[in-house]
């Protein structure tokens, strides 16, 4: 009694109160600015500007898509938890992030039942069958989108006219996206006339004439495309926040956008007639969304620093290969999935050497 009495604080009644002491291994500190849930919240916060632009451009369609994706993603996660008798994991926020990113990668005009199916596939096949958060090999949102691409291929490439009053730029009228126009292969008027593709030729010419305006529209978000492919500026703003918070590894977006810029510069050396300029390539389509929000998914990207460079540059390279040579106008999704598959191998091959190397090696 005597020893502990002097050791501890006294309560008002004058009795010694020994505080309940704990044992634990070091470190006894943790970085409170960063938790798993905070990372998810960060992604949602960073998507805020892009969601706002999306809501402005697409109005209710944006709300419906995001709402549907959220409802079905959370329901699927809950169902898996119940069936597998695991604690409900909805509060970790990862399902919300997957749902929002999936919705952001879909065309606003996609039928809602397709969005629902995509959400179920994204959470179910993309994440939960692997064991839940942190265990999946592929980016769940991209798994869902790839499934929709296979099942609803027509609806997935039909782009709604942005409902911005008073704006009637070239793509607003034609519903063609810049990347879609870039795919049109008619450069010669005579040949186009012979092939009966004079309208395509005209579209191309109109695009070239208005290219400055096109770039500006891409930056601000007045264009056809997926929900989240609207304003490159809004995406960049959110992306920079993610990098500053270290929630996303900066090597991935820098590597990806850098590789895309370099490849498009080289491509233009060989084919000067390409209508997409390097600065357009990195703001068009899903490049910005992909670079800052999709490729940076920590779970499905490498943990090593060199690995992140390889991963980012790989996604950028495959995206450009698909854009320049493939049949699809856009290739971020397939590039991300492809590099996801290579991630375990990249991790293995890019293991860093311990500081100072190994003795006698």
């Amino acid at each position: 009694m005597s020893r502990s009495a002097a050791l501890t604080a006294h309560d008002p009644a004058g009795q010694a109160v020994l505080p309940p002491l704990e044992l634990a291994t070091s470190p006894h500190f943790a970085d409170r600015k960063q938790t798993s849930r905070r990372m998810m919240v960060d992604v949602l916060l960073a998507l805020g500007p892009a969601i706002a632009v999306s809501a402005f451009v697409f109005r209710w369609a944006a709300a419906w898509q995001i709402g549907t994706a959220l409802a079905f993603s959370l329901a699927t996660e809950a169902l898996f938890c119940v069936v597998r008798k695991k604690p409900l994991s909805l509060w970790d926020g990862s399902a919300v992030v997957t749902a929002v990113i999936l919705a952001m990668s879909l065309p606003p005009s996609l039928p809602l039942y397709a969005t629902a199916i995509g959400s179920v596939v994204a959470i179910g096949l993309g994440k939960m069958v692997f064991g839940g958060l942190g265990c999946n090999l592929f980016n769940p949102a991209m798994v869902g989108r790839a499934f929709l691409m296979a099942c609803f291929s027509q609806a997935m490439v039909t782009w709604q006219v942005p409902a911005v009053p008073g704006v009637s730029h070239i793509h607003a009228v034609t519903q063609a996206t810049p990347l879609g126009i870039a795919k049109l292969g008619v450069r010669d008027r005579a040949k186009a006339e012979a092939a009966g593709q004079l309208d395509q030729y005209a579209l191309r010419q109109a695009f070239l004439a208005a290219k400055k305006q096109v770039f500006l529209d891409l930056l601000l978000g007045i264009r056809g495309g997926s929900l989240g492919e609207t304003s490159a500026l809004a995406l960049l703003l959110g992306g920079l926040y993610l990098l500053a918070r270290r929630t996303a590894a900066w090597q991935i977006p820098v590597g990806m956008l850098g590789a895309m810029a370099v490849i498009s510069v080289i491509a233009r050396l060989f084919r000067p007639d390409l209508v997409m300029y390097p600065h357009m390539q990195i703001v068009a389509g899903g490049a910005m969304l992909g670079a800052f929000f999709i490729a940076t998914d920590p779970v499905s990207s490498p943990v090593t620093i060199r690995g992140r460079w390889v991963f980012g540059m790989g996604v950028g390279t495959f995206t450009m290969v698909i854009r320049l040579l493939g049949n699809y106008p856009e290739g971020v999704m397939y590039s991300v999935l492809l590099m996801n598959a290579l991630t375990p191998g990249i991790n293995r091959l890019t293991m860093p050497r311990p500081l100072g190397g190994i003795r006698n090696e």
Partner: protein
């Protein structure tokens, strides 16, 4: 000359002495930084462990019920890598017993009942650190005499690892040492023992530096201090102003700058390979407290009897830097500092990054106890663990360039082979990875468990 040293200090860009990786946890040094070193009143009883250091425990050479003087040797070093133990205060030796150290290791120990009246007359601070130090006396000693005095005094590293200092300083012909680093970084949050020593006894540190430099054969000596201690930088640069080949290196404030393998590349650009010692790259690192102890041993014949222990944290009533006798129990120090607050939750030997939580307040202070940190509930983090998100934050912050998540998962899965191939053995358990982990995975715990399992797994294989 002083002016020159000051300009050098101002032009020394701390950004140049950077740490690879690392983290910057809240420093929390304000709690005890301004508390002068305070000699603790002699406790009635001491429990002096014989195995306080790395290496073989010392062997008792006094009989039970023997009367001992302060500084009298009570246990003799058992071999080269070992350290003698001395009576911290005058008193009567009790019958040998066993003490549980803060690390959880058990060690033979000698209890000493302190003779209160004899102890009361000793002005401990003046004996150990204070008073004038005659730097000229260093020239009168040669390397062998210095080493002998250090060995006789039972000095071990005061930074925490408690490696016998004479072994570190002993020159080896094949691996000559050319740089001596005196480590005043004290990167561990909360702790201020080294800081106070630099402010209050800079001459003792400088004397120890010169002695260690001579004994080890180093041509250059560098005092390394983090840039969050401008006052210590000023005091120390003044103290070394007229000395040739002694420099001061201002380092970035980043944990674990004070770790040997981090400090050496930051200050000298040399890197210590895994499996090698600082000696192999021609460097010896001594903590500032160890340097002061070297001075006491060589110039005053004073063995290790006391050390500075920072008692701090939001869970302690009155934080302080105590000059405590070796063998004082944690409860004695805590009681002297006004006791625990009601919200105290963890009592640590050391600081929050590498300290050990103790379960027994009878744990004795050893030569390696740099502080007692009492963390309150508000300072702790209780976020629930989640699965690994593979975010790679642990890879970013690992000062040794390891991939902690991979090693931890390998240990968890029982794949010791993979853990070994991923350089589990290189891990210094600094705790940066676990600090930075958003999923709150106890990575350091996996490292420790893996090392233990690996040792157990390899032991029979080696004996074959």
């Amino acid at each position: 000359m002083t002016a020159m040293a000051m300009t050098e200090l101002h032009t020394a860009d701390p950004r140049k002495r950077r740490l690879h990786g690392g983290v910057h946890p809240p420093e929390c040094k304000h709690l005890a930084a301004d508390c002068p070193i305070e000699p603790m009143p002699a406790p009635t009883e001491l429990l002096v462990p014989l195995g306080q250091h790395i290496g073989a425990p010392a062997k008792a050479i006094v009989k039970p019920r023997a009367d001992v003087r302060m500084g009298e040797k009570i246990a003799e070093a058992a071999g080269m890598v070992s350290a003698s133990v001395h009576a911290p205060l005058p008193g009567k030796v009790g019958s040998p017993t066993v003490a549980t150290l803060a690390t959880g290791r058990r060690s033979d120990a000698l209890p000493i009942t302190v003779a209160a009246d004899a102890a009361a007359g000793i002005r401990v601070f003046d004996v150990v650190f204070g008073g004038p130090w005659d730097l000229a006396a260093v020239d009168a000693l040669d390397g062998k005499q210095i080493l002998a005095a250090v060995q006789e005094a039972g000095i071990v590293g005061g930074g925490g690892a408690a490696f016998p200092t004479h072994v570190k300083l002993m020159p080896i012909e094949k691996r000559p040492v050319d740089i001596l680093i005196i480590n005043g970084c004290e990167c561990e949050p909360y702790l201020t023992a080294d800081y106070r020593l630099m402010l209050e006894a800079p001459q003792a540190i400088v004397a120890g530096l010169l002695l260690a430099k001579k004994a080890s054969g180093a041509q250059r000596a560098i005092i390394a201090i983090e840039d969050n201690k401008p006052q210590a930088i000023r005091v120390m640069s003044k103290a070394i102003a007229n000395l040739p080949n002694v420099e001061l290196a201002v380092c970035q404030t980043r944990y674990p700058m004070g770790g040997e393998r981090q400090l050496i590349p930051a200050v000298t650009k040399r890197k210590v390979p895994v499996g090698a010692l600082p000696l192999d790259v021609g460097v010896v690192v001594l903590n500032v407290g160890t340097a002061a102890a070297v001075a006491g041993a060589c110039l005053r014949g004073q063995p290790v009897t006391h050390r500075i222990v920072t008692v701090t944290g939001q869970g302690i009533a009155r934080p302080a830097n105590l000059l405590a006798p070796i063998g004082a129990r944690f409860c004695d120090l805590i009681r002297h500092c006004g006791g625990l607050r009601p919200d105290a939750r963890r009592i640590l030997a050391g600081g929050p990054m590498m300290g050990y939580a103790v379960s027994d307040l009878n744990t004795p202070v050893t030569k390696g106890t740099s502080g007692i940190t009492v963390l309150a509930q508000s300072e702790l983090d209780y976020t629930r663990q989640t699965n690994c998100l593979k975010c790679g934050r642990c890879v970013d912050v690992c000062p040794l360039n390891l991939v902690p998540t991979k090693i931890a998962l390998a240990v968890k899965a029982g794949n010791l082979d993979l853990a070994k191939k991923s350089h589990l053995a290189a891990c210094c358990e600094c705790g940066c990875c676990a600090y930075a982990c958003p999923a709150r995975i106890p990575l350091v715990q996996y490292m420790r468990a893996g090392k233990v399992a690996l040792a157990r797994f390899e032991a029979p294989a080696r004996s074959k």
